[in-house]
Amino acid sequence: GSGTTPAADSSQAAAPGSPGLTAARAALKTYAQRPAAISVTQPVGKKIPKGKQIDFILCGVQSCKDLADFFTGAAGQLGWKVKQIATQGTPESVQAAYEQAVRDKPDAVVASGFPRAVYAKQLAQLTAAGIPVIQSNADDVVGDGISLLKNGPKDVGVQGRMLASWVVSNSGAQANTVYFDLPAYTILKPVKDSFAANYKEWCAGCALDNVDVPITAVGKDMPDRVVSYLRSHPKVTHVVFSLGLLNVGVPSALKTAGLTGRHIVVNVGDAQNYQYIQSGLTDGAMALNSHETAWLQVDALARHFTGQSMAVDQKAALPNMLVTKDNLPSVDGDFPIVESYQKQFKALWGLS
């Protein structure tokens, strides 16, 4: 065993009514609610030009593709054309995609997932050409060519807080938790840090262990790793995955290994995890706001094309939600967090 703080006993000290638990429960209550409104309220207010050409650079994994599809849908509403440029997720192919974007000279470039180091040269060229670049889900900062960054390192911290609130509440502040992280995705680091911080804050006596998983284990021996870990750490009650992907295949492996009674919660749920939740194989998931992010990006561009600042959108906090079996909106793929987000955005754009 490694790094487990001597917590199991001291955690008993945290009485059901401890302030930490109360705070966690309160936090969870808000996170479990499905938000009804998007956080942007200020209408664009001007006629949005049609016929804009936008390049969307994919990152090679599913969530980026989803994002691109949602974005394309939203842009279609405004009569814009979106060209999706595929990459294999390798830095080189991402560079090549930016290279192509530079040559295309679109009205804007949207991308997801890659730190700017990879495409710094092309970014400079795009900036020089006055083409705005919009990023999301990347370990980066706004400025220096990046006009808008959603779900950047500052934004994703809340995800760790959401997960912590659930774990602490669910355990009655008596959790012994293992957090499986995928360091290959650096954007997940703030999630991990914020989880640890909030977890400790709400439940000082709760044990927490952190396990890094190499990306080569994903889709292969990940379930086996989890089983091994739980067998060698039998006191662990809660398992947190920093990405839904890591949970694939884990529930059935736990079942066959006879490891029952462990609670699983994942960050960035996907269809599979929602189905696990529906089937009672997993307890909870942080549902990401891909729909809202994509539409918000379109909203930002709409403001840009009408000569306004994107600051409104940069400031707006995107909705998130912690889903469990009780409040799971749907199991079929990604669902929007805000049910009527399209209507609300269209209203801002003067389309309805």
């Binding site: 190499p214 292969k220 790793r225 089983v227 091994s228 694939v248 066959t256």
Partner: protein, 376 residues
């Protein structure tokens, strides 16, 4: 100066043994040979590993649960590794198995989830696709005579494009995949041992029987060792090579279905992580038990050896670099122990020198590595 009946008497030292097979001495000698480092070096490495982890993680490792975990956790990897054994026995590389596996996994999922077919129909269709891949591989390799190594890389790319078309590169999920009839395929268990372990056992049995106990198996090995000679003996080498490609496609396709059932989704990259390790296992397997021949139990042994290590490491430490360090070192140790130079290099190098040094040469020589200064 007596007229010795030349050397006939001296030559066949084994003729007497044969009739004396049941004499303890001979039996003992055979047992010793069977248990030697050179024959089952991997087993000894395995034992060392087991002892090591039993000391390192005494509470959790030496338990029956660990056994089950190793078996359950490596059944799919074992199936994929087995799928490359028959082609390799005939000296055909099938590098498309990983893609075949991914394809059947996503096809099954798609048919179940979107097309609304029942598990039976979905599986049948997915296996039909695997069959088709096997046939295409066979055509490219056997009929068009493209080198199998590169041909199956190419067909692998074609399958990849099919996968992308089917999935748009994202996993296919659905509650249907988690529901009983389909989920049971991989998840039903008896006393903690899941069905895939049974599949692995059956597949190994079948391939072992095929290779060791049927005429086809002998002809496969003959094809692999010396295709020209085999053809002169009337072996239909092309047909056999074709069939091994079909067999590997079917088996890896089946592994894909089992994988889909086990994780409850169809993943477009399901097979990728299994490719290199399947070849590693098959090559290590070829140094074991039937040294120089790709064989079923040796391959299973190799898969379980590596699997035991990974599981043991998981129980003992959570350092993420430990797994590959362990895998690499165990592979090297096992291969060095067994002499390791089977399979490809032996095939490539086997010197049949002057008629009689051949006997002395190859098998004996391998015991004493580079004696002659000549080679360096």
């Amino acid at each position: 100066m007596t007229s010795t009946p030349t050397r006939a008497a001296e030559l066949p030292p084994s003729a007497p043994h044969r009739s004396a097979v049941f004499v303890p001495g001979a039996l003992g000698r055979r047992a010793v040979a069977a248990l030697s480092f050179r024959n089952i070096g991997a087993v000894y490495v395995w034992l060392v590993i087991v002892v090591l982890f039993s000391v390192w993680a005494p509470d959790t490792f030496p338990t029956i649960i660990t056994v089950k975990q190793v078996l359950n956790g490596n059944a799919v990897a074992g199936l994929v590794a087995l799928s490359v054994v028959p082609p390799l026995a005939a000296r055909v590389f099938d590098l498309s198995v990983a893609y075949t596996m991914s394809l059947t996994s996503v096809l099954t999922a798609r048919f179940l989830v979107s097309a609304g077919l029942g598990p039976g129909a979905a599986i049948t269709l997915a296996m039909a696709a695997a069959l088709l891949i096997g046939v295409v591989n066979g055509i490219v390799v056997v009929v068009l005579r493209v080198d199998s190594f590169i041909a199956t890389l190419a067909t692998g790319a074609l399958i990849q494009s099919l996968i992308t078309m089917v999935t748009n590169d994202s996993s296919i999920t659905g509650v249907q995949l988690l529901a009983t009839p389909f989920a049971s395929i991989a998840q039903l268990d008896a006393d903690g041992i899941t069905l895939p372990v049974l599949y692995l056992l059956l597949a190994a049995l079948a391939i072992w029987f095929l290779l060791e106990h049927t005429a086809t198996g002998r002809r496969l090995y003959a094809t692999g060792f010396n295709a020209d000679a085999a053809r002169l003996q009337g072996v239909r080498t092309d047909r056999l090579r074709f069939l091994t490609l079909v067999a590997s496609a079917l088996l890896s396709g089946f592994a894909g279905i089992v994988f889909a059932s086990s994780v409850g989704s169809g993943s477009p990259t399901a097979g990728t992580p299994y490719l290199l390790s399947a070849y590693a296992a098959a090559f290590v397997g070829a140094t074991q038990l039937r040294a120089g021949r790709f064989n079923a139990w040796g391959t299973v042994l190799a898969v379980l050896l590596l699997g035991t290590g990974i599981t043991g490491l998981g129980l003992a430490t959570s350092a993420q670099w430990a797994a590959s360090l362990f895998t690499g070192s165990v592979l090297i140790v096992a291969l060095v122990l067994t002499g390791g130079r089977i399979a490809l290099p032996a095939v490539l190098r086997r010197r049949k020198g002057i008629p009689s040094t051949a006997g002395a040469g190859t098998p004996a020589e391998s015991g004493t590595p580079p004696v002659t200064g000549k080679e360096t």
